[in-house]
Point group: C2
Chain length 180, copies 2
DNA sequence: CGTGCACCTGTCCCGAGGGACATGTCAAGA
DNA sequence: TCTTGACATGTCCCTCGGGACAGGTGCACG
């Protein structure tokens, strides 16, 4: 149940509508913590019911902006410091790699090339983001400083996955038993 | 719905019981693709119903070993080559990093140290695994060759996350605006 | 003036995942 | 003989996530 804390954390930066939050999730967090708008609206409703956020204003087009309450801020902080980190990962590409031996050699090559391309592209995108941040394009608030750290993780993660896919192509399909 | 293909893929190596599969999932795949035994037994039942696996033998203690069928092998291969890779990631530690600015400086330091330790330990475990594989402890079958590739991904992934946690500690908590 | 489109907020259903709980079985050791 | 514990298989329930579907609103452009 991290979506609620993800929303609270972003709202801690300032008021936002469900639509804003959905966009921020897909833009910045899309590849790291996907969230669909239906869940966001539902969760915002619950959060409001619990007094962790409140409606700040109602704008045009039925737009409702939410503001985090003191209780909400306290709750994110509690989560950040007291709740144990969930390290669960579920990476289908790595699960698939266990079964590479079932694939034809050139199917595998095509697959690994595509994977490398995919990860390299994502890494580049985040690297570019980081560079723009370092140039000061997004200011120097503590919030963007934290985002810089998150982006760095993405750059490193995707770069190492791209490198891995490249490396995997150099591994012989079936290594013969070595002569002792 | 990757659990079914994960099970099929492992069964492609040879017959196994639900218990065996559960163990393999927690031992090798625990940190990459977690799966609880209730789901495994349920999925095996479904797979048997669809003719993708069949009961090979019934041993002591109600043990039922399953064997993959030709249709099952065809299905994994179809999945590997025809079904698009799901690159979804959901990394709570990275989501949390977006909110580091909400944490006290020394809370954050403790957190990052713990994270680095955690990832370093996992990386070491997999690195050790890889070394044993390279020494030939697990033989030189195509299956272990694929597992070697998977393990390499884990090593690289966890190493880069550990490095990231170390790096994050060197980032100043709140960077002041630079004088132009 | 109209109409299309981006904006904005939802409902609903289904399948997957997490975790507590239940049950039966064989072997080893007190 | 009794009991503990590892082996082995399952049920049940609840929540979360994915995705299809729906509906109302203001603006820009022809």
């Amino acid at each position: 149940m991290s979506l609620r804390h993800g929303l609270l954390g972003i709202l801690a930066e300032g008021p936002a509508s469900g639509y804003d939050l959905a966009r921020r999730f897909t833009e910045v967090l899309g590849s790291i913590w996907p969230a669909q708008h239906p869940k966001i609206y539902a969760e915002l409703g619950k959060l409001a019911g619990e007094g962790l956020v409140e409606v700040e204003s109602e704008g045009p087009r039925r737009r409702k902006a939410y503001r985090i309450t003191d209780a909400g801020v306290a709750e994110v902080k509690r989560w950040l410091t007291d709740v144990e980190v969930d390290h669960t990962m579920r990476l289908q590409p790595m699960l698939r790699s266990l079964f590479f031996w079932l694939m034809e050699t050139d199917e595998l090559r095509r697959h690994l090339e595509a994977e490398a391309r995919y990860y390299r592209e994502l890494a580049d995108r985040y690297r570019d983001y980081a560079a723009r941040k370092d140039r000061g394009e997004f200011g120097y608030s503590v919030q963007t400083q934290s985002m810089r750290v998150t982006i760095e993780a993405a750059v490193r993660l995707y770069t190492s996955l791209a490198d891995w896919a490249d490396w995997a192509q150099t591994v012989p399909p079936a290594q013969p038993a070595p002569e002792q």
